[in-house]
């Protein structure tokens, strides 16, 4: 969970990485919105509930037009390019949000992990009597056990605010559904929409004769209505019906809320906002959960901060289990299985990304089959210890990089690709170095 979440901080960057050759831009002219959408509708005239336009200021500097099923990139002149394809990113985000389980149950289980994180923060503070006495202590050497304990406690203490943020916001995503069901049953006669409307501004009632939505006209007005708000995407709700309206989601500067929403009728006349930016604090707090959880609120700087803190949270969870294993004097099978799961997951994810270069389907099966295989190998083969899994994860990531370069050619050296390929190459080098530097006594402990 923590590892996939740490990687998923860069889900937008992974989307770009999967199609590195797509032209990128900083902005688009308003008239190109209608042009691209018209070209898309000619290709896909089928009925759909929604139409979408994703703007280059969304966090991914690309221009996308889509309906509920298909998405196409467009260039800055509004010409359609190719179908959007990000199977690995979708699989990775699904892994983090639902553990690849059926969504209803997966989300509740994952949310429960959020509450468990809150538990761990509380128990960590209460249970460690020397937490303030050891606040700056790090004892290396020995059999490594004290180092693991110190590292675990230092991460737990100093990054506690981040852990609480992740725990509370993580729990929200699945538990909001339960909350809505309970409150609607108790006070709203089972009307769930009425509860949702207390937080999220309900759709306007339009009742206008259907007309082709004037997207360019609506988008062009954003420069006057909200000049400091960067548009993220545009949705045509209730498409092809009398209740059709246009909604533009735009980042509110300095705010944690996902967006302020600007609504227009089909003719592109401004109707009003969703009222989030200046709305009630409760409304803003709930609408801020996404950005608070994924660290997507101040561009790359907040993402890097969340990535580093996410690595700390992952190490905290891993070291917690390692401490427990060390207290049991490292039972060989359990220790190997745990290391196989931890380090093997990195290799499994890398190989899943490698498979995604060739196919869109079956990625969930590939990942979990590899995790299962790693666990079985760890059970039956003594040599499959930490050093083995660490180095093998490096080899898997290196294989991914080589295959990626082979598949994408020169595009593998574009900014969209290099921003992830360089960190991945650094991981490869670190894993080889670390694998070689694991001390024999640590290995023998794991083997004992």
């Amino acid at each position: 969970m923590c590892f996939s979440g740490t990687v998923a901080v860069f889900h937008q960057e992974f989307e770009r990485w999967e199609q590195p050759h797509i032209p990128e831009m900083k902005s688009i002219a308003p008239e190109m919105v209608d042009k691209a959408m018209n070209a898309f509708l000619q290709k896909h005239p089928e009925q759909t509930d929604h139409l979408f336009v994703v703007f280059p200021t969304s966090g991914i500097p690309r221009f996308v037009v889509e309906n509920d099923d298909k998405a196409y990139f467009a260039d800055s002149n509004g010409n359609l390019l190719e179908v959007e394809r990000s199977p690995f990113t979708k699989m990775m985000v699904d892994l983090h949000l639902y553990l690849n389980l059926p969504h209803a149950w997966g989300m509740i289980l994952v949310s429960a992990m959020g509450a468990i994180i809150c538990t761990l923060v509380v128990t960590g503070m209460v249970a460690h009597k020397r937490i303030s006495k050891d606040a700056f202590r790090l004892r290396r050497g020995g059999n490594g056990q004290q180092y693991t304990i110190d590292l675990h406690n230092r991460f737990g203490l100093w990054a506690a605010p981040f852990h609480l943020i992740i725990g509370v916001t993580g729990a929200y995503f699945g538990l909001a559904g339960l909350l809505i069901v309970l409150v609607s049953s108790l006070y709203y006669g089972g009307d769930r929409d009425a509860v949702v409307a207390e937080i999220f501004t309900p759709d306007p009632v339009m009742g206008q004769p259907y007309q082709q939505p004037q997207l360019s006209r609506a988008f062009a007005q954003m420069a006057d209505i909200a000049p400091n708000h960067e548009p993220i995407f545009l949705t045509v709700h209730e498409a092809y019906s009398d209740d059709q309206f246009i909604e533009i989601y735009a980042k509110a500067p300095g705010k944690m809320i996902y967006s302020e929403n600007y609504r227009f009728d089909s003719a592109g006349n401004f109707i009003g906002t969703g009222g989030y930016e200046d709305g009630h604090w409760g409304k803003q707090l709930v609408y801020a959960m996404y950005r608070l959880h994924f660290g997507d609120f101040a561009g790359l700087s907040s993402k890097i901060l969340y990535f580093i803190l996410g690595v700390m949270l992952t190490v905290l969870c891993i070291s917690g289990t390692e401490i427990w294993l060390q207290k049991k004097a490292n039972p060989p099978v359990l220790t190997r299985v745990w290391q196989g799961i931890v380090w093997g997951s990195i290799g499994a994810l890398a190989l899943t990304a490698l498979v995604s270069l060739a196919t869109d389907t079956g990625l969930v099966s590939v990942f979990w089959a590899l995790v299962l295989l790693n666990s079985l190998l760890s059970v039956f083969i003594d040599k499959c210890d930490k050093r083995f899994w660490l180095v093998s994860s490096g080899i898997c990531v290196l294989s991914l990089l080589v295959s990626y370069t082979f598949v994408h050619g020169a595009s593998a050296f574009s900014m969209a690709a290099l921003q992830l390929n360089i960190p991945m190459l650094a991981y490869v080098m670190w894993s080889f170095y670390r694998g070689r530097s694991i001390k024999p006594h640590q290995e023998s402990l794991n083997q004992s």
């Binding site: 290396r140 050497g141 981040f162 909350l179 609120f297 907040s302």
Partner: protein, 179 residues
């Protein structure tokens, strides 16, 4: 940019003062460090807006503390004896006990924390949006505290009875006490 550098410097100064108080066991430095930490919250809020600034002010010390921890490293001697691994206690009874704990934590305590948080937060003097947002923040924390309590107490039966009573009382409040 300057305001960000100042805010970062305040965070660093706060950690340095707390480290000094830890090294010298002087409480005055701790209070001073806490005051500077508070000032860093204001600095970050001034620099990035209070919503982003508060997150930075609370999270960045987790990065800035490492030079101080590194400066305080010690190296332990290698132990002469390596403990032999304990045998694994795998039995059907243990498995059932763990499944039982799992159900208590993920089902019973979920329900208890949900209804209790609702019973408390729906009485807050706020609009419905504020009440619901309070539930979203309180519930996982309460759930976490209850999980801690459950694993900390030796008498699990007494704890379970207490959770049932808490859930029943909260449900009664939700159903019969008007808002």
């Amino acid at each position: 940019m300057l305001s960000t550098i100042v805010a970062g410097a305040l965070s660093l100064a706060a950690i340095a003062l707390i480290y000094r108080s830890w090294r010298t066991r002087a409480l005055a430095f701790f209070y001073l460090g806490s005051g500077v930490l508070l000032a860093s919250c204001i600095g970050w809020s001034f620099s990035q807006g209070w919503e982003h600034g508060l997150v930075y002010a609370l999270c960045i010390p987790a990065l800035l503390v490492w030079p101080f921890i590194s400066a305080n490293q010690t190296v332990l001697a290698t132990p002469k004896h390596t403990p032999s691994p304990k045998s694994l206690n795998v039995s059907l009874k243990t498995a059932w006990v763990h499944i039982g704990h799992y159900l208590v934590v993920l089902v019973l305590l979920l329900v208890t924390s949900l209804v209790t948080s609702l019973a408390i937060c729906l009485r807050f003097p706020s609009e419905t949006a504020g009440k619901l947002a309070s539930v979203i923040v309180l519930m996982p924390i309460l759930w976490g505290l209850l999980i801690y309590h459950y694993f900390a107490v030796s008498n699990k039966v007494k704890a379970l009875i207490a959770y049932f009573i808490l859930a029943a009382l909260s449900s009664a409040v939700l159903m019969y006490v008007p808002l």
